[in-house]
Symmetry: C2
Subunit: 280 residues, 2 copies
Amino acid sequence: MTQTAPTPATPIGSADLVGRRYRDPDLTSLAHRTPTIDQQLAHRSVREFLDAPVTDAQLTSIVAAAQSASTSSNLQAWSVIAVRDADRRSRLAALAGDQRFLRCAPLVLVWLADLGRAARLAAEHRTQLGATDYLETTILGFVDASLAAQNAALAAESLGLGTVFVGAFRNRPAEVAAELGLPDHVFATFGLAVGVPDPAESAGIKPRLPQEVVLHRETYDPARDSAIADYDVRLRGYNTEHGRDADWTTPVLARLADRHSLKGRDQLRRHLEERGLPSR
Amino acid sequence: MTQTAPTPATPIGSADLVGRRYRDPDLTSLAHRTPTIDQQLAHRSVREFLDAPVTDAQLTSIVAAAQSASTSSNLQAWSVIAVRDADRRSRLAALAGDQRFLRCAPLVLVWLADLGRAARLAAEHRTQLGATDYLETTILGFVDASLAAQNAALAAESLGLGTVFVGAFRNRPAEVAAELGLPDHVFATFGLAVGVPDPAESAGIKPRLPQEVVLHRETYDPARDSAIADYDVRLRGYNTEHGRDADWTTPVLARLADRHSLKGRDQLRRHLEERGLPSR
């Protein structure tokens, strides 16, 4: 009983997707396009949602997409919690920078780096699981969760839904863990708010750095940074259209200036240790 | 000049994709399917490649897909190095567990957590960039690289190519960094081998854990582990078909047993510190 997905608010397949993604006169089209690549190019973060549900059947498809992503050694070192309860979403919003969309989106997916499943298996089999003490394993959990979540976000978009990632779940990890009942060796990496996009939101396809800046050949070439100046102009143009006054460089330097700009996340290592992932 | 992608070796859109992904009698179809979700469900890791190129035009599409993924605060804290040179691929293979496919795949993409770009901007603007000292920022780079790489892998698959992730680039990070000329604050997170799949490879769509194991509702429920026993049977069935004798639990417990099972990656934190990412 396959249903046709609703038409997305952003029409995809447009010849101008590449133009909007880069605003780069040197890259205005792609020789190779597929429906999947067009879906990816059309991505934008959605922070305004209609009062409309995300169904359990849609969630099943989204999670199937997530589980189809690669996972290191098939460890599947991640889980996801689907939060629908409005009071819980409101409490999570308060813990994650008070971002309004966490209260408005009907579904918040919390992606977990989950070494707890393996730890419980080890306990059941009366064997040790020493690797969970190391940063490698913590990062493996974060990477697994990220690969899964990116597939989930794209699958949701292909169903006509909108999403936005929420890194601020790492601001206050202890309270987030308590709210979600997380056991040892399980850590909330980030959230993904999901809902039907409000077409009235002023947001578009955000231009990214020129390809030549991020794509190196054979070895790393710092001289590629020289194209960042062009990008500052392009992103300022996009931001101006959406009522903001900013280039790229200034907010990047502010965001990474010092520990205070991390909004509590400078304590991440201690929080991981308290969750059973000492990350040494 | 949009070209039609070649037909993938694994036919997608098959009604049986869900059956192959789960082998779960309780989840045999999805109510919501899209071409993107079908592409995701059809994923398999490819480790045997034909002697056929991946073109620069294909690479441009793959990187455009990668850049279209979400990125924390638009920091775009990642880069990618496209390695085609056979000698370099051979040397990288020797550093990454001597996996043969790194020598056979015509293209190896090395995904970098890249805080170096921001650090160089800060130097140019004569300002400090203190946040790069913290584990939060290291992990942000790994997450950004992972979101981008997952989009890249899926885009490549939609073009009829095959891919496999290579975590073993973290076994010997100092040598990998030297080979790739990585500057400070840049770390090779993992590789992605890309090429035209050899249809003779014995591999299929690997079954994943039942959805009920990884998908929690409102709060985390460890009792969901009880369905792992069924999965052990299903994965053993899949492995038997491909000439391997293994369930899920046994290799998971071996892979995470102790620091020796990490093959050098227990030193990851020290290596990050040496690359300018002390991760405290």
